[in-house]
Assembly symmetry: C2
Homo-oligomer: 600 residues x 2
C-alpha cells in the first residue's frame, strides 16, 4: 500500500525557515501567477510560492532565493493560484464509493480537504466502520478528516441498526488521529429536550476541544431552535432559506450552505451575504451528499463555488467560504485553507475565478491532478472480509415472505400507505382503500408493495407495507441495501416472486441495488463494502447508477430522483410515514402504527 | 479567598437548553437594548439576552419565556449591548500591579478577557512566577488567560536572569489549566537562524494545539520576515506602519495593533482596513503595556476601541477587533468574545458605540462594574514570602561600589556612553570625551553614571557605565528593580553616595523605584512582589508613579516618559548600547563591549 505521510509543521519548521531565509532550496516553486489571499481577500499579482516538505515554505513577491538546481519550477502563466477547496460537511457513502475512489473522483475537481461523516457505515459496522473509513481516509493524498457519527440509530426505539453509537464511543473516537469532531447532531428533538445521551456525546467532543456538527431540520426558529443552539452544535447545514441562514449565524453557528446532488440551498441562502450584507466569515460551502454521477459529470466543490459566484457572490468571498472559513471553523486555519506559511501546500491553478476551470491541482506539495486527470494513486485499504459480508438474510427469501395477509375475512380495507412526493424528502401518510384477493393484499391501483428486510443480524425478518407514487407498472421489483439510516434492505415491487429474487440477489453480491422486470435482472449496482460502497472507480459506478435509473424508468417510474426516494423510505426521522424493521412508523408522532386502520 | 468558579458549557448545557426552551428560569434577563452581534456585524434592535450559570442561555428577539419569579431583570433603556472587551496581548506587570489589582482597575473599563504574558516575573521567579500569576489570574471575576513566556533570558549569553525558560518548561506549562499558548517569541533572530531551542518551544505549543505569539521587531519585510513567519508565530504586535500590518496579515498571521501607554500603532496601521479594504478578520486590538496611570486616567481596551473609531474605523469592525477576532485567534470563539449561546456572559451596556462610555459591565453573568465603579472583589493570592524577597543584594552597597576607575594614569578618555533618545526605545552608542578626577570617572557635562546591580543571586556585583540624555542636575540618584528584561536593578545618578542609598533602599522595601535628591528620598514606589508589582489599588500606585515623575523632573529630567527609558536600559535586544550584569552590550553586534575606547 502506498502511504503518503506528511510531517507536521513543527517537524518541518527547520526546513521551512531555511527555505524562506534562502539557506535551503525548495522542492517546488510556482511563479508567474496571481495569488488569491483568502486572509486579506486580495489578488496579489506576481506573488510566488515555494514548497518544501509538502508545505508552503515561502509565499511572497519573489521566491527566487528559494530555487536550487533540483527545484521543480511551475510556470503559472498568468493563471490564478487559489487554495485547494474544502468540503465542510459530507458523507462519502453517498457517492457509493470508498474514500479512495471518492478522493480519486474529486481531486481533479480541486478538492483537497473533506470533512466527512461516515454516518452510514456506522449504522452497519459501528465504531469499526468509522475506523475503517478513517483508515482509508488517512492514506489518501489529500486531507480527509472524519467526523464521529453522533446518531446511530437515528431514532432509538423505532428501528434496530447494525450497531449503536453512544457517548463512550464518541469519547473513544475523540482520541483517534484524524477525528475532527462530531458528525451532525441529527437528534435535535433530543437536544432540545435535554437528552442526557445526546448532551453527553456533545460534552465529550467539547472536552476534546473539537467541533460539534449540527443538523436542525425544522423551519421553526423560535425557542426550540435557540434551545438547540444552546446544546452546543457549532454549525448547521439544514437551512433552506435566507431566514434560516441569518438565524444560525446570529447564534454564532456557522451556516453550511449545501449544493449536493439533490440539495440546492446555496442560492436561497447566500443572499444573507450578497444582499443583506452579513459578515461572510460565518458562511461555509459544502456538498453534504453527492452521487457518483454528479462527481463525474458536474464536479464537486468547484461546482459549489462556481454556483455561489453565479448566484452573485464575489468570487473571493465564495473562495473564502470554501477554504479559510472552513479551516477556521474546524480549528485548522494554521494547517490548511490558505496559501500561507507552514500550511499544507494545497493549491489550484485556474485561469478564471468565476468559471473556475481546475487546470492543475497540487496537494501537500505534489501535483495530484492536471487538466482534469488524476496524477496520483489513491490507495485502497485492505477491507476486512466481514466488511464485505454485511448482507445477512439468514435464509433464502421466497415470495411467501412478502405476503401481506388481510385480516381474516376482510375484502376491502383502509390501509396506511406511504405516499412518495416528487422532489420532497417528507412522505405523506395516505389512507387508501385496498382490496384483498385470496386473503392477501397485493400491488394495485398504483400502489406497490414495500418491504423492509432485516440484514444485520440474519433474523430473516421481513416487514411488509404499501407505497404509492413511484408509478411502477407490470411485474417488477427493486431492492437496495442503501436504506437510510439503518441500512437494512428496502424492497419495492409489484411481484412478490421478483421481490424475493431481488432480495436474494443482493444477499449474493453483498449488497447494492438491483432491479428486476418480468423475471430478469435489468440493472445491478454492486456495493459490496457494507452494502453501501463500491471500490470501483467513480465513472464505472456512475455508469451503473445511470443504468439503474433507466431500469426504474423501464418499470414505469417517472419520478425525479426516484432512487433517492427509495433509499430514504426507512429514514424514520423525517415525516410522515416510513418503514423500519420494527414496523410502519408514524413520524409525526414518533411511534409505530399499523398497516390497516381498525374498522370504525 | 473568594473563588469564583464557572462551569464549562458542557457542564451547564442541560440548564442552558432548559432556559432557552422555556422550561427553566434564567438568572438574569437584559431587555430593551440594541444588541451588537459581532458574528454578523449587525446591530439587532430589541434583542434580549438571558443568562444562566454565568453563560448566555438565550440570545434572541424575545426572552420573556426565560423569566421566572427570581430572574434579575436589567433594563437596557435603549443602550447597546456589546460583548465584553478582550485585550489580545499584554503584560500585567507593566501596570506595576498584581493581576487582581490590574483586573480591579480595568473591569470598570469594560475589559472582561485578557491574554497576558507574565514575561517579566518569569525572568525573576521562573516557571513558579508564571504559575503564581496564573493562579491569581484564575480566581478573578473576569477571564485572564496566560501565555507562557518564551524568551528568558531575552538575550542568552549577554545577561543573567533570575531564571531561564526552556522547551521543557514550555512543554510543562502547556498542560496547565489557563495557559493559552506561547508569549511573544521575541528571539526573532533565533527563529530566522533556525535556533533549535526556539523552534522546540514553538513545537511544544503547536503540539498542544495552542497559539504561538509573535514579536518581529524589525522593519525588514524581506526573506528574514518570511522565515520568521515560517517558524510558526501566529500573530505579531510589533508592526508600526501600514506596510507592516499588511505584510503580516498576508502571511496568515493576525496583526495585533497596539495602543499602550507608550505604543501608538493603531492609527498608522488601521488604514490597511479603513483605506486599503483588507478583510478585517485578521486584525486585533491590544494594549501590550499600560501603566497604572493610563488605566486610571484614560482607560484600557475601551480607550483602544474608541481610538480605533476615531481613526476612522467602523465601530462594529473595531468591536470585532476587540472581541470575536481575538477569541477566534485563541481558539475560544465558542467560549467568549460574542453575545451568543453558551458563551461566557460577558456584556457591556453603553449608550454610544463611538465614545464608548462603559455604563455597566457584566462578566460571567455577574454585574462586576456599574458607572465606572467596580462592584465585585478581585481576590488576592497569598503570595509566598520568597516572591516578596527578590531583591538580593548580598551586602550593603556603599559609594565605592559605584566607582568607575580610570585606566591607570589616564586623564582624558573616550568613553562609550549610552545615549537616551526622547520617545524612542533604541539608544544611541555615543562616544564622549570624559575627564578623570582622582583616578575616577564621575558624572560630568550632562553625563550621569549608570549601574546595573545584580539582585537575583546576591552576588553583590555592580556593573558601572555612563549614560547621557536624562538631563539630571545637582546631586541625585534613581534606582529601579523594574529593569527589562532581566530585572536586576538599574541605578542612575550623579552622586555615588546617593546611588548606594537608593539601591539599599530598594533592598530594604523589596523592590520598586526610589528617587533621591540632596541626600533625601523624594519619591518611592514600592513594588514588593518580585520587585515588579504592587498589590495596592491602581489609583494608589498611579499616584505614587506620578510623584515619581515629578521627582525626576525635580532632579532636572525633562524627557518624556523618562521612567520607561530608565527601565529599558538593560533591554539588551534593542540597539544600540545597553547595560547588563555582564557588562556594556553593543546591541548592533550582540556582543559585550568596553566602557572606554583603547587609545588609538
Amino acid at each position: 500500500m502506498e502511504r503518503h505521510s506528511l510531517k507536521t509543521w513543527a517537524e518541518s519548521a527547520a526546513t521551512l525557515v531555511a527555505v524562506a531565509a534562502g539557506r535551503a532550496p525548495a522542492d517546488m516553486v510556482i511563479r508567474g501567477g496571481k495569488l488569491v489571499n483568502v486572509h486579506t481577500r486580495e489578488v496579489l499579482d506576481g506573488w510566488q510560492v515555494a514548497i518544501a516538505e509538502g508545505r508552503f515554505a515561502y509565499v511572497g513577491p519573489d521566491a527566487s532565493h528559494c530555487v536550487g538546481p533540483e527545484t521543480n519550477i511551475i510556470e503559472a502563466n498568468g493563471r490564478y493560484l487559489i487554495p485547494g477547496l474544502c468540503d465542510g460537511h459530507m458523507h462519502i457513502e453517498s457517492g457509493m464509493l470508498t474514500p479512495a475512489e471518492f478522493a480519486a473522483a474529486v481531486i481533479p475537481q480541486g478538492t483537497t480537504t473533506m470533512f466527512t461523516d461516515p454516518h452510514e457505515i456506522a449504522n452497519v459496522l459501528g465504531l469499526e466502520g468509522v475506523k475503517l473509513m478513517r483508515d482509508e481516509a488517512l492514506i489518501q493524498p489529500i486531507s480527509i478528516y472524519t467526523q464521529m457519527p453522533s446518531c446511530a440509530p437515528s431514532a432509538p426505539g423505532l428501528e434496530t441498526t447494525g450497531y449503536e453509537i453512544g457517548p463512550e464511543d464518541v469519547a473513544e473516537a475523540m482520541s483517534w488521529p484524524g477525528i475532527i469532531g462530531l458528525g451532525e447532531m441529527m437528534n435535535f428533538p433530543g437536544v432540545i429536550n435535554g437528552s442526557q445521551q445526546m448532551l453527553a456525546e456533545i460534552a465529550e467532543v467539547q472536552k476534546a476541544g473539537k467541533t460539534v456538527g449540527g443538523h436542525y431540520a425544522s423551519p421553526d426558529l423560535g425557542p426550540e431552535f435557540h434551545a438547540y443552539a444552546e446544546g452546543g452544535p457549532a454549525d448547521d447545514h439544514e437551512g433552506t432559506c435566507e431566514a434560516d441562514a441569518i438565524a444560525r449565524v446570529r447564534q454564532g453557528m456557522r451556516m453550511m450552505m449545501r449544493l449536493g446532488s439533490a440539495w440546492y440551498d446555496v442560492e436561497s441562502q447566500i443572499t444573507a451575504v450578497t444582499e443583506k450584507g452579513l459578515d461572510p466569515r460565518g458562511f461555509i460551502l459544502c456538498t453534504d451528499d453527492c452521487h457518483s454521477g454528479t462527481l463525474v459529470n458536474d464536479g464537486h466543490m468547484n461546482r459549489v463555488v462556481r454556483h455561489a459566484v453565479a448566484c452573485g457572490c464575489d468570487p473571493l468571498i465564495a473562495l473564502q467560504m470554501a477554504t479559510i472559513n472552513t479551516a477556521t471553523h474546524f480549528g485548522l486555519e494554521r494547517e490548511l485553507g490558505s496559501i500561507a506559511p507552514g500550511r499544507r501546500a494545497d493549491v489550484i491553478l485556474t485561469s478564471d475565478l468565476s468559471e473556475l476551470p481546475i487546470e492543475k491541482v497540487i496537494a501537500q506539495g505534489r501535483v495530484v491532478a492536471e487538466g482534469g486527470e488524476i496524477a496520483v494513486t489513491c490507495p485502497h485499504l485492505d477491507w476486512p472480509t466481514h466488511s464485505r459480508e454485511t448482507v445477512k438474510l439468514g435464509k433464502t427469501l421466497v415470495a411467501k415472505d412478502f405476503e401481506i395477509p388481510a385480516p381474516k375475512g376482510a375484502e376491502t380495507l383502509t390501509a396506511n400507505v406511504i405516499g412518495v412526493v416528487e422532489n420532497q424528502a417528507p412522505t405523506k401518510a395516505l389512507k387508501r382503500q385496498v382490496q384483498a384477493e385470496q386473503g392477501l393484499i397485493s400491488a394495485q391501483n398504483g400502489i406497490a408493495q414495500i418491504a423492509l428486510v432485516e440484514r444485520h443480524r440474519a433474523t430473516g425478518d421481513v416487514v411488509n407495507a404499501l407505497v404509492e407514487g413511484f408509478g411502477y407498472q407490470g411485474e417488477m421489483a427493486m431492492a437496495s441495501t442503501v436504506a437510510h439510516d439503518s441500512h437494512h434492505m428496502i424492497v419495492i415491487g409489484t411481484s412478490r416472486e421478483m421481490m424475493a429474487q431481488a432480495a436474494d440477489r443482493l444477499g449474493e453480491v453483498g449488497g447494492g441495488v438491483t432491479i428486476w422486470k418480468d423475471g430478469e435482472e435489468i440493472a445491478l449496482v454492486e456495493l459490496p463494502i457494507a452494502g453501501l460502497m463500491s471500490d470501483r472507480p467513480a465513472h464505472e459506478v456512475a455508469a451503473k447508477a445511470e443504468q439503474m435509473v433507466k431500469a426504474m424508468e423501464a418499470c414505469g417510474c417517472t419520478l425525479n430522483n426516484a432512487y433517492m426516494q427509495h433509499s430514504l423510505l426507512a429514514l424514520v426521522v423525517i415525516p410522515e410515514l416510513r418503514i423500519s424493521d420494527l414496523g410502519l412508523v408514524d413520524v409525526t408522532k414518533f411511534e409505530l402504527t399499523t398497516l390497516f386502520e381498525e374498522p370504525a
